[in-house]
């Protein structure tokens, strides 16, 4: 066991996957000698060579399309897109090819690829570097969308994503790349996909979040505890397909739900969870489902980004209101 940051855990998982499986290939812009703009791939090219850790031309569509071709041939490509704002040229490849070649060929061809990209705001980055458009991806059938919230889960979930026989978009919470530290054992053990993690048990209200927002969500749970409110905190971790059982089980217990995400509200993934609860958990509810999210605006640049993102105070207030309802 060693204490490390989330980005170091990503690096460790990549190295472990490459060590274990010669079919694993890492590709992207600046992933080689530079080790990636966030240093997630540092040291990999030196260790595994430029053929398996390759710097691509500056073309995101190409990176995703190469991953599809490589994966269909049986490699396990792990592509890196430097920021989520640059992922959009890959959407055509994800929607039209990666996610559906298994279905299009009725299982004859498959696409075991991973596309990694930093996710979210909060690091005072330039324009287009602070996106959290995970709901767009979670709408694509045949794709998996995974986002860790701690070094331990980053390691275990990335290993699972690379070993998964289907395409996975792996979102990495930029804001806690280095802020999150934790013990990680390099034991090569994957964590399960499609499964939510209960980070904290409680009987009064369920807080559901993913990625970097779990930091504020856990802080809110601490603050609520001081007021005598026991919050249960769920890290959804896999958004597509997501763990409905854990969500509904928790609502059955608490009867109250606050969903927290950094992405804009309308059509955000919180809406999907709220709809699920309305459809299959309504009779458990003691209060309306609440969403604490980014506003329905373009994510502001550095000076205002903190005002856009859900704060501990907003989460506490929404939770308190849910507990005081009726």
């Amino acid at each position: 066991m060693a204490e490390m940051t989330l980005v170091e855990a990503i690096n460790l998982a990549l190295a472990r996957a490459m060590e274990d499986d010669p079919d694993v290939v890492v590709l992207g812009e600046d992933v080689g000698i530079n080790g990636g703009v966030f240093r997630a791939t540092v040291g990999l090219q030196k260790r595994f060579g430029p053929e398996r850790v390759l710097d691509t031309p500056l073309a995101e569509l190409l990176i995703s399309g190469l991953c599809v071709g490589m994966a269909v041939q049986g490699l396990k490509p792990v592509g890196e897109i430097q920021f989520m704002g640059f992922l959009y040229p890959c959407i055509d490849q994800l929607v039209n090819h990666a996610s559906r070649i298994r279905n299009r060929t009725q299982g004859r061809l498959t696409c075991p690829m991973v596309l990694r990209t930093p996710h979210g705001a909060g690091i005072r980055a330039p324009e287009h570097h602070s996106e959290s458009t995970e709901a767009m991806l979670a709408h694509i059938p045949g794709l998996r969308v995974v986002i860790p919230s701690s070094p331990e889960r980053a390691y275990g979930l990335l290993l699972a994503a690379i070993r998964d026989p289907d395409p996975v978009v792996f979102l990495e919470p930029t804001r806690i790349y280095r802020a999150a530290k934790g013990e990680v054992e390099d034991n090569g053990e994957a964590l399960p996909l499609d499964v939510a993690f209960v980070l904290r048990e409680g009987r009064d209200v369920t807080l559901i979040s993913w990625g970097a927002m779990l930091k504020e969500t856990m802080a809110a749970a601490d603050a609520l505890a001081a007021e005598g409110i026991a919050a249960e905190v769920i890290d959804l971790a896999t958004l597509k397909p997501y763990d409905e059982v854990t969500v509904l089980g928790s609502i059955a217990k608490t009867g109250r739900c606050v969903i927290v995400h950094e992405a804009t509200r309308t059509g955000g993934f919180g809406a999907e969870i709220a709809a699920l609860i309305a459809e299959r958990g309504l009779t458990s509810l003691l209060a309306p489902v609440a969403r604490v999210t980014g506003y329905d605006t373009v994510i502001p640049m550095a000076r205002l980004e903190q005002k856009f993102m859900p704060s501990v105070d907003r989460i506490v207030a929404a939770s308190r209101k849910a507990c005081q309802f009726s």
Partner: protein, 366 residues
């Protein structure tokens, strides 16, 4: 062009490029240039001829099925049969084809069954479960988006030191897309074993080539990516086959990618949903009929006494029989059960979707 009129100012030329054009058979079947070695193999030429005739017969039947409501939208190869057949004929079994939707001729040559092609165009995913070349890609419908896949496939071949070639086919319209250029650019960087084939049939639905590019040839687009681009007479199957042989030999030998622009003409509509008379004249099409590949090769073969009237009649009967048998098998194929739409979504069905599959299966209300 304006650039040609500009004074050179005494500046030195640092690079010059040229594009070759390959043609052997004239439209009347006479010989323009000494034929390549393979052309002395009468049985090979006959097999190319047979494949083109089969494709034309198959297309005719497919359109008839579409017009009578028994097939979905279909794209015929009329006039450009030499490209898909000539290219595929130079491939090895272990190579991988990444076709576009008008490359039926290549698929058939590589062993995809006619009924599988009909199933696909008839709206059944099982048509892409090729029984023949199991690693070939299915038809790519979003134009040009398979080009990066070809580069990825070729990268895998190179990484594993396999002497195999990826062959990516698309039309003239696709060369306007970033996908194609990004793939070519990467293939050039890594000298990948991939052959890009642009079937330049002059029309991208209603948009003529002159509105597609200001470039004199499509072949020269390869030069910017650092490899050879060659233009061939795409209505001369001997030229297509010869170019494909050269390209694949070079790619297999580690010399890197190759681009073939096969210049031909789409004599038919874009698809059965299109009416080409809206955007081009009957005179233009009529003139192009003089160049079409099947009559051209037949004229040559007959002139060389390599093909007889009896063989022609026998071939017609064989094609008819083969196509009719395939149609029968296609029409006899029952639709998939509805719930099977979940069966190849992921390797295993996620728990979250079990209820929906159940609902489709009529085993509950979901």
């Amino acid at each position: 062009m304006a650039s040609k009129k500009m004074a050179d100012g005494g500046l030195p030329v640092i690079a010059r490029f040229e594009v070759r054009h390959r043609n052997y058979l004239a439209p009347d079947g006479s010989i323009n240039r000494p034929l390549p070695a393979f052309a002395s193999d009468a049985s090979l030429l006959a097999s190319l001829y047979r494949a083109m005739v089969l494709l034309r017969n198959f297309d005719r039947k497919a359109v008839a099925l579409q017009r009578t409501g028994r097939l979905g939208t279909y794209a015929v190869s009329l006039g450009q049969e030499a490209v898909s057949v000539g290219i595929a004929s130079a491939m090895r079994e272990e190579d991988v084809l990444l076709p576009s939707y008008r490359d039926n001729g290549a698929l058939i040559w590589r062993g995809v069954k006619l009924e599988e092609i009909l199933l696909f165009w008839g709206g059944d995913e099982r048509g892409n479960h090729f029984s023949g070349p199991v690693q070939d890609f299915p038809f790519c419908v979003p134009v040009g988006s398979q080009a990066p896949h070809a580069a990825g496939v070729a990268y895998a071949f190179k990484l594993r030191k396999q002497p195999r070639v990826a062959v990516c086919m698309f039309g003239d319209g696709a060369t306007s897309k970033g996908d194609v250029y990004e793939a070519m650019n990467f293939a050039g960087v890594h000298k990948l074993p991939v052959v890009f084939v642009a079937t330049n049939n002059q029309w991208a639905i209603s948009v003529p080539l002159r509105l597609q590019t200001g470039s004199e040839t499509l072949a020269q687009k390869a030069i910017a990516a650092g490899f050879i681009g060659e233009q061939v007479d795409g209505s001369d199957v001997v030229a297509v086959r010869a170019a494909a042989e050269a390209a694949m030999a070079a790619a297999r030998d580690g010399q890197g990618p190759y681009f073939i622009e096969a210049v031909t003409y789409r004599l038919g509509d874009h698809t059965t949903s299109d009416d080409a008379s809206r955007y081009r004249s009957a005179d233009e099409v009529q003139a192009r009929w003089k160049e079409e590949p099947i009559a051209r090769l037949r004229s040559y073969l007959v002139g060389q006494k390599m093909w007889s009237k009896a063989e022609e009649e026998q071939l017609a009967a064989e094609c008819h029989e083969r196509v009719e048998a395939a149609v029968e098998r296609y029409l006899a194929t029952e639709p998939r059960r509805p719930e099977t739409m979940f069966d190849h979504l992921y390797a295993g069905l996620p728990e979250a979707y079990a209820a929906q599959r159940h609902e489709l299966a009529g085993e509950g209300d979901g």
